[in-house]
Symmetry: C2
Subunit: 190 residues, 2 copies
């Protein structure tokens, strides 16, 4: 519904034409490859491939396309990863709707559009401190799995999983895995 509503609204702008829509990340990449638009506007949380990896693929396969990220959550790590993937803009959904068309025009003219406060937060927070393995284990813990489940799923020993969780807990300065998961998600580290 949201996507459709924004598309309708953007179509009303005289200088903007909506050439395609997609519900998933993979679909977005496929549609962009065919329609070769000037701008691709992506959400991050989507079924299937997430918006950031989709952004990377679109940048690679359709180099003339400016990729913009529009997301609900202003997480520093999201911004960082979006930029590394080659995005030209990073907008959060709580800015007024009028801004969207304006941002698209600015991106088309070659500018990069980023909320200054969020940029500062992303830089001051520093890069993701979690090692790949720690991220993997922490991600496997989000759904409330027990240590044994995680160990089985990742083909690790029980104790190993504990250590990774423990170090993730310390790096996030949390008191247990639940807080660690939440803080990591807040930062966009997963």
């Amino acid at each position: 519904m949201i996507r459709g509503a924004l598309a309708s609204l953007l179509s009303l702008e005289p200088d903007i034409e909506v050439v395609g829509e997609a519900a998933t990340g993979d679909e977005a990449v496929a549609v962009a490859a065919v329609t070769r638009p000037d701008v691709a506007l992506l959400d991050i949380e989507m079924p299937g491939k997430d918006g950031i990896t989709a952004a990377g693929e679109i940048c690679r396969e359709v180099p003339e396309c400016h990729v913009m990220i529009l997301t609900t959550f202003a997480r520093p790590g999201y911004l960082r990863r979006a930029m590394e993937a080659g995005a030209s803009a990073f907008l959060v959904k709580d800015s007024p709707a009028r801004e969207l068309a304006a941002a698209i025009r600015r991106v088309l003219s070659g500018e990069r559009v980023i909320d200054p406060g969020l940029a500062a937060a992303a830089l001051s927070a520093g890069p993701n401190p979690l090692s790949p393995r720690e991220r993997e284990v922490l991600s496997a813990a989000v759904d409330g799995s027990t240590i044994n489940d995680i160990a089985a799923r990742l083909h690790l020993s029980e104790g190993t999983v504990r250590n990774y969780l423990s170090s993730a807990i310390q790096k996030t300065s949390a008191r247990n895995r639940i807080e660690a998961v939440q803080k990591a998600q807040d930062q966009g580290w997963l």
Copy 2:
């Protein structure tokens, strides 16, 4: 942004006029009390007062107003509580945008609009099995607090908190508090 976009879109319909917008639950109640609209369209997850209690208050204070809930999550418990609060419609955001105006017209003509599949799920799932105390404790556990934190915050003994959590875990047929919290939230029981 979403609210603004939907408002713009609805304003384009010849027979619909948007008379007010609000960012929080309390604001929504206040605006409705002043503008006395035919229809109030509410989200559930909002800062401040949540949409369901706001719906109840609007129904009480502005009886001629039809309250509609538009939410991201199709949770049975949400639907149940919305209906108990007096809502006339329950829509999820993944239906197409065109449906929204149609649903508003149907509500105005006195119909109640509910997704049939969701209604079935809400009825077959039965009512919320958690006692008030269990809900309270489980809600206090969502942010990863330790048992001691919860006990202190709720002025209970440590062991008591454990028992409530334990029984909540069994009632949700989960394996630990994390799964219990997730399942309860899925059902809209918190």
